[in-house]
C-alpha cells in the first residue's frame, strides 16, 4: 500500500476486555515499531520487530501487552484485560532496515477504555 495503515481507527472497550490492534506496514519495510501516545504527550516506544523477530519489547508496560508479527509483515498488538490507563493512541511505524530513523507512521488507533 501507499502508507502504513492501522485498524480499527477507534476502539472503545470496557475495562477487562481484550483488544487487538492491527498494523499493515509499507510493503518491503523490514522494521516495524509500536508506540503508545497519551493525550498531550509524545509517542512512547513499546516494541520493535525486524521481520518476524521481536528484537526489543522493553517498552511494553505490563505482561498484559503482547505483540506479534508472525510472517514479517502485518503486526498485531494485543492488550488483555484492558485498564483505564491503557486509553491512548497506539501508533505503528515502519521503515527500511537501514533507515530506521526514517519511520513512517500510521494514523493510529485511539483506544478508550471505559
Amino acid at each position: 500500500g501507499a502508507g502504513v495503515s492501522q485498524s480499527p481507527r477507534y476502539k472503545v472497550a470496557k475495562r477487562g476486555q481484550d483488544v487487538a490492534l492491527r498494523c499493515d506496514p509499507i510493503s518491503g519495510h523490514v522494521s516495524l515499531f509500536w508506540y503508545q501516545q497519551a493525550l498531550g504527550q509524545g509517542p512512547e516506544f513499546l516494541t520493535y520487530f525486524q521481520n518476524e523477530a521481536q528484537l526489543d519489547k522493553s517498552g511494553l508496560p505490563s505482561d498484559r501487552f503482547f505483540a506479534e508479527r508472525p510472517e514479517g509483515s502485518v503486526s498485531t498488538l494485543k492488550i488483555q484485560r484492558t485498564q483505564q490507563e491503557d486509553s491512548a493512541v497506539y501508533l505503528c511505524a515502519s521503515s527500511l532496515r537501514d533507515r530506521v530513523y526514517e519511520q513512517y507512521f500510521g494514523p493510529g488507533t485511539r483506544l478508550t477504555v471505559t
Partner: protein, 112 residues
C-alpha cells in the same frame, strides 16, 4: 534515564511570523536527532540530524544540531496556517534497538 525536553510546550503566532522551537536531550549513546510534524494522528518525518553545525533545510523549515550543548532548534519562517501542528523531537540511540525517544512536543498554532 534518557530524556528529551521540548520548549515551548505551546505557541500561538500570526501568519508571516518566524518561530523557533527548541529540543534539548540527555541520551547515553546518541546517534541522531529527528524532527517530526504531527497533524491529527500520524507524525511525518521532517529532518534527521547527526552532525553539529550543519543546517538542514526544506523550504521554510530549517534545523540545526549542537552536540556539545545537547540541543537542536527547528525554525519556521513566514509561517502559514498550514504549519499549525505538534512538532515532535526524537532521539535515536546506538545499540538501543533502533527505538526513538520522543519529547512531549510543541503545539504550534498559526492564526490569520
Amino acid at each position: 534515564e534518557d530524556k528529551v525536553v521540548q520548549s515551548p510546550l505551546s505557541l500561538v503566532v500570526h501568519e508571516g511570523d518566524t518561530v523557533t522551537l527548541n529540543c534539548s536531550y540527555e541520551v547515553t549513546n546518541f546517534r541522531s536527532l529527528l524532527w517530526y510534524k504531527q497533524e491529527k494522528k500520524a507524525p511525518t518525518f521532517l529532518f534527521m540530524l547527526t552532525s553539529s553545525g550543519i543546517e538542514k533545510k526544506s523550504g521554510r523549515l530549517s534545523s540545526i544540531l549542537d552536540k556539545k550543548e545537547l540541543f537542536s532548534i527547528l525554525n519556521i519562517t513566514a509561517t502559514q496556517t498550514g504549519d499549525s501542528a505538534i512538532y515532535l523531537c526524537a532521539v535515536e540511540e546506538t545499540g538501543g534497538g533502533n527505538k526513538l525517544t520522543f519529547g512531549t512536543g510543541t503545539q504550534l498554532k498559526v492564526e490569520l
